[in-house]
């Protein structure tokens, strides 16, 4: 495969590329899903191909081919080069300098998730489903996933990097319905569960079977809960909802390609400007955010990104002040700072984009969830995302959660359903007044971060403790 990549790079350079890189990616993905006591899906996917990216007179070209043959590699290189030569625009793109690297990386794991039998996976899902059974629960579902990506990166500066990345994960969900209501509870997270760059031990650690009764009972109880009333109040968010809050209101706006406008046609831009670093107040003094592509178990962990830049841990927000962006070699060169390190592609058939790696809210000194709630005379505690929407500059957001509880006098009170809250990013983060401690910090991984045209799904992890915000508008209604 290394020879194949080298042939593609050589063909591109011979055709006029000043820079070229090639990635051969072999992906395998397995899904086992059950619903209401039956197997819903057992599927096994494999996909392989080569993607070739070239820079010709400052213009990008990218082409890919499913054929991992000399012919496929060379044709992709020539098509990419031909496109770059025809591309409209002034084209003054340049790349931050990086050293040529030869390296190998492999996900540390205890038990390969593909080595676990399908029968055992079905059995786990069905046992978890059994635990969610409840009078009002009309749909019970569970799934586990395994994912392996073996990729080889070769570039015209002489890098040759081979990485073997394995992910495992899953989730369970209960839906309860009545004549007028539809309520859902998920564990360990909504919208695709949670995954980790790890082996089957991660799925075992989630302990679906132990969590299932709570999930089923809460889904049922939500049918009898009162709707979250409109108010402006104190909100405590669990680690899981914090993951969504970090992703949407910190992760995406700090992607430097969005700041420069290159996502304007789809995901949007950013309220941040390139010269905001070290001056823009993003939130309160308690806000410390780190981008870390070395986090053990993170879905954004690697040795080198998809343009050959080494992994790193960097501050994004320190003491509430913006300290940096997520960058590529191209955007770093444009900013005149750094060398990149956040470029990843969805398989072989997509061009690398600036993506979140693992983005965390660092723990604070707020202690446990109970301690965070203890300081609230009047407010709400919200768990697990249900809906999300945010504007194109990542300022105005409205998020919904699966479940909530009233807080009165520092104690949890009645359960609340259909809770929503809304805010404006720097105003909301400015109201951060407590972050839970390190003992309560959790890492979760999501696999559905959409970006780019054609669309790409990114795999990203976030870590956070529960956190508390003052003066938040809740209970938005249609």
């Amino acid at each position: 495969m290394r020879q194949l990549c080298e042939a593609a790079v050589d063909a591109a350079v011979a055709a006029g590329a000043s820079y070229a890189d090639a990635r051969v990616v072999m992906r395998r993905a397995q899904l086992v899903a059950t619903k209401n006591g039956q197997v819903e899906e057992i599927s096994d996917l494999d996909s392989e191909g080569i993607g070739v990216r070239v820079l010709v007179d400052g213009a990008w070209g990218f082409a890919c081919d499913r054929r991992t043959t000399d012919e496929g590699a060379r044709e992709a290189a020539l098509r990419a080069t031909a496109f770059a030569k025809a591309a409209p625009g002034g084209h003054r793109r340049s790349l931050a300098l990086v050293d040529a690297r030869t390296a190998e990386y492999r996900t540390p794991l205890e038990r390969d998730p593909f080595s676990v039998s399908i029968a055992d996976k079905v059995d786990l899902c069905l046992r978890a489903e059994e635990g969610m059974k409840h009078a009002d629960v009309t749909v019970r579902s569970a799934f586990v996933r395994a994912h392996r990506e073996h990729k080889l990166f070769v570039s015209s500066i002489g890098s040759a990097i081979e990485q073997d990345i394995v992910e495992a994960g899953g989730g369970i969900e209960a839906i309860a319905t009545s004549d007028a209501l539809f309520q859902v509870r998920s564990y360990p997270s909504a919208h695709g569960g949670s995954s980790s760059q790890a082996g089957w031990e991660y799925v075992e650690g989630l302990d679906f079977v132990a969590q299932a009764p709570r999930v089923g009972e809460q889904a049922s109880a939500l049918l009898r809960a009162e709707e979250c009333p409109p108010a402006t109040t104190t909100v405590v968010l669990d680690s899981d909802q914090m993951m969504l809050q970090i992703h949407e209101s910190i992760g995406h706006p700090t992607e430097l390609d969005r700041v420069y406008g290159t996502e304007a046609a789809y995901a949007g831009t950013s309220f941040l400007k390139p010269d905001d670093v070290d001056s823009l107040r993003y939130g309160s003094d308690l806000m410390n955010v780190t981008a870390d592509s070395t986090t053990p178990g993170g879905l954004g962990t690697f040795a080198f990104d998809d343009e050959g830049v080494r992994a790193r841990r960097e501050p994004i927000v320190e003491g509430g002040v913006l300290r940096g962006f997520l960058t590529s070699r191209e955007t770093a060169a444009r900013l005149g700072q750094g060398e990149g390190g956040s470029m990843r592609a969805d398989g072989w058939s997509r061009m690398p984009l600036v993506r979140m790696t693992n983005l965390h809210l660092e723990p604070g000194d707020g202690g446990s969830l109970e301690e965070l709630i203890d300081g609230v005379p009047d407010g709400v505690y919200l768990e697990t995302n249900k809906s999300w929407s945010i504007d194109d500059k990542r300022l105005n957001f409205q998020f919904g959660t699966q479940i909530g509880w009233e807080i009165k006098g520092g104690r949890l009170g009645r359960m609340l359903r259909d809770a929503t809250y809304t805010g404006v990013t720097p105003v909301f983060w400015g109201e951060l007044d407590a972050v839970g401690g390190a003992a309560h910090w959790q890492l979760k991984g999501l696999t559905n971060c959409g970006k780019g045209q054609p669309g790409q799904d990114g795999h990203v992890s976030h870590g956070s403790s529960p956190a508390r915000f003052r003066n938040v508008q809740i209970g938005v209604k249609a």
């Binding site: 082409a63 031909a82 409209p88 839906i175 406008g261 046609a265 058939s349 938005v476």
Partner: protein, 455 residues
């Protein structure tokens, strides 16, 4: 057009090991010239073929998927699907594979679109970019030749080549932005300059945007806005799985008046003004499905699995999704909103008198599927309507609407309809869109304000 996709499907079927087998093959040769600040920055040229195999062995079902198509790879695919089936418990609800039926005649292939190469795709993007000047252009031109072939052990041998092309432009500056888009299966039917001009003309009117207090307003929604809103609503509410799992806003309301009598919505995969399809991923013929007729809820779309579970004896309407999306159930992919009587959008603006004008939407989220509640932002061309005319531009507005409520009081719709792209081009290419007019509604609930137009 060659029959390579069907030949590949039949080779995979021959290699399959089971009592029954079903193969769906998707091929793609596409080019994507994505641009920002009037330069192409993310070009993507794709060549791919994907083989999706489902086998039934002793009542057990397993699936596998590959993009390796050599004989040994197809044998390996068959082995993996058989292994998945053998390790699964029997599925008593599996309805079996479809039997052959006649397919409707559709036309969705254009030789000239299929022949567009990388240089032409770059040039077409360039024409759209130039037309937006002096504003900077953000968007893309893309075109593709894709094929879907389905072969089954029950005797289905179906093949459809499809072409599609989309031009999308946001013309933008520091404090202005406008949007335009056209999708078609015949690239020559759309001049890229038209899209660039439309976006730039809209953008020029957005300077100096004002804010708006939250509240209920009458509104005119362009086809871009209505099409996206209905697509999101339809994922739950027009789906047979949404009915079975009680997520749909149509639950228990089939036969009831749920919208203004002016509102008629079908899923029409056969309309040549859309992106026509002859059959679905199970090889079932595509059917036109009435969803809302003169405001009365009439039905939803089904695939074989959900239809078999329907208490009312529903049959598949030909809406089985691609195999990797099977867990999400059948989905409408060709929503079609009936035309109204207004001769122009200006006539709708007059009907509204006082309200807001919405060009397009951004980042929708389903807040409550059972009630059809969706939130999102307006973007790239939001205006106040005063005295029956477009007045000052507005900042991007957050809205939170129950779609049945929005459709309950509709003063009018335009006679002219437009195909609005609904492909985000994730995974394998499968063009889809909504064919719809502009609409006037008395009920558009604004719940907040965002940033102004522009970058």
């Amino acid at each position: 057009m060659s029959q390579t996709a069907l030949e590949l499907a039949q080779r995979a079927l021959a290699a399959a090991e089971g009592d029954q087998a079903e193969v769906a093959v998707q091929t793609e040769r596409s080019g994507f010239a994505r641009f920002a600040d009037s330069e192409v920055h993310q070009p993507t040229l794709i060549e791919n073929a994907v083989v999706q195999l489902r086998v039934v062995r002793d009542g057990r079902v397993g699936s596998a998927l590959t993009n390796r198509i050599e004989p040994d790879a197809l044998r390996e695919l068959a082995r993996r699907a058989a292994e998945a089936a053998d390790l699964a418990p029997p599925d008593p609800d599996f309805p079996g594979l479809a039997e052959p039926e006649p397919f409707p005649e559709v036309s969705a292939y254009d030789e000239e679109t299929a022949a567009l190469g990388a240089e032409e795709q770059a040039q077409l993007a360039g024409r759209a970019i130039e037309a937006a000047a002096p504003l900077a252009a953000y968007g893309f031109f893309t075109s593709a030749l894709s094929e879907l072939a389905v072969a089954t052990s029950t005797g289905i041998a179906a093949h459809q080549p499809m072409t599609d092309a989309t031009t999308l432009v946001i013309a933008a500056g520091e404090d202005v932005s406008g949007y335009a888009e056209r999708s078609t299966w015949k690239a020559g039917a759309v001049e890229p300059e038209t899209i660039g001009h439309e976006a730039a003309e809209k953008a020029a009117r957005t300077r100096g945007a004002a804010s708006l207090e939250p509240g209920r307003h009458a509104a005119v929604l362009e086809p871009y806005a209505l099409g996206e809103l209905l697509q999101w609503f339809g994922w739950d509410s027009f789906s047979g799985l949404g009915i079975l799992e009680e997520r749909s806003a149509l639950c228990g309301r089939i036969g009831e008046q749920i919208a203004d009598p002016r509102v008629t919505i079908t899923d029409d995969p056969l309309d040549p003004d859309g992106l026509p399809k002859a059959f679905d991923f199970e090889g079932v013929p595509k059917r036109v499905v009435p969803l809302i007729e003169d405001g009365v809820a009439r039905g939803v779309v089904w695939d074989r699995t959900t239809a078999a579970r329907s208490p009312n004896g529903a049959a598949s309407t030909g809406h089985a999704p691609p195999p990797p999306a099977r867990v999400y159930g059948p989905m409408p992919t060709a929503l079609s909103v009936g035309a109204g009587e207004a001769s122009s959008v200006d006539e709708l603006i007059e009907l509204v008198g006082d309200g807001i004008y919405v060009t397009r939407l951004h980042y929708l989220g389903i807040v409550n599927p059972r009630e059809g509640v969706i939130t999102g932002m307006t973007r790239d061309g939001t205006f106040r309507i005063r005295a029956g005319r477009i007045a000052e531009p507005l900042v991007n507005l957050r809205f939170t609407v129950a779609v049945p409520d929005l459709l309950a009081e509709v003063p009018g719709l335009t006679r002219a309809r437009q195909l609005v792209n609904q492909s985000q081009f994730y995974d394998e290419r499968y063009p889809q869109g909504v064919l719809c007019p502009a609409i006037a509604t008395a009920r558009f609930n604004v719940t907040g304000s965002g940033s102004g137009p522009g970058l």
